[in-house]
Assembly symmetry: C2
């Protein structure tokens, strides 16, 4: 009844787990060490920095930063304590909150970015060939379409 993995599939699966975990851990460690923030916080700052007015509704921010709403809420609370983000009440919908990236937050992002990009290259881009990267992109898009829809 159960469609067990054969040996080849087992090896693929375990290699996938190991590799993806290594990449995520490398990113998290680098950012924590050099910029004092976990990768999840970095993604929030990035998403805000790219939004018009460097601000976004919480729920939209959650989806752009690939975060649950609860996680985002806690994270933004911490970021607010550091002065990197502030929250404003939404005028049109008074339930809503708008997260705004402060100048300090933008500066923190700017100073974290170069080291982060370097780590991304080291961990993923540099070891792979251009064809592998194209293939990886398609694989990831496919997986996203499956799990998001």
């Amino acid at each position: 009844m159960t469609r067990w993995l054969n040996d080849e599939e087992q090896r693929t699966w375990r290699s996938f787990l190991a590799a993806t975990q290594l990449v995520h851990e490398a990113l998290d460690r680098q950012l924590q060490r050099d910029a004092g923030m976990p990768h999840a916080y970095y993604m929030i700052l990035v998403a805000l920095s790219e939004a018009p007015g460097r601000s976004m509704r919480m729920s939209e921010l959650a989806s752009k930063a690939q975060s649950s709403q609860s996680r985002l809420s806690h994270a933004v609370a911490r970021l607010e304590e550091r002065g990197w983000v502030r929250r404003e009440r939404c005028p049109e919908d008074r339930r809503g909150n708008i997260a705004v990236l402060t100048d300090d937050g933008f500066a923190a992002l700017e100073s974290a970015a170069p080291g982060h990009v370097e780590e991304v290259r080291r961990a993923l881009f540099d070891p792979l060939t251009p064809e592998q990267l194209r293939g990886l992109r398609e694989i990831c898009d496919t997986v996203r379409n499956t799990l998001e829809g």
Copy 2:
């Protein structure tokens, strides 16, 4: 100076982040919901179940289960509370600890496995073609060699 990512690379990177996070979250949710354990614990049980005598030194277990020593130590403490694992002192090296999978632990693993495999297929294998899986395996092996060595 900084080798920023171009548009194509940005898209690949973000797709990679989204896809891998979705897969890991799907696994974690399924196991937590259906078996009451996070994926990290499942990997520990799997590693033990495959070892001779269903037992292993803590440090070896940490590497097989892709865990830090500290994480493993905490995790095994929890697994011990549930009666799924017990710890024995190592006779040859009295610093060492040996984690042993109990019968209850093995039973918990057996009952968790089918749902887990199904989720692995749903999240990763089913959506991808055989060629993509071969490519993915090579990509992951390359990344592992880069980040582990």
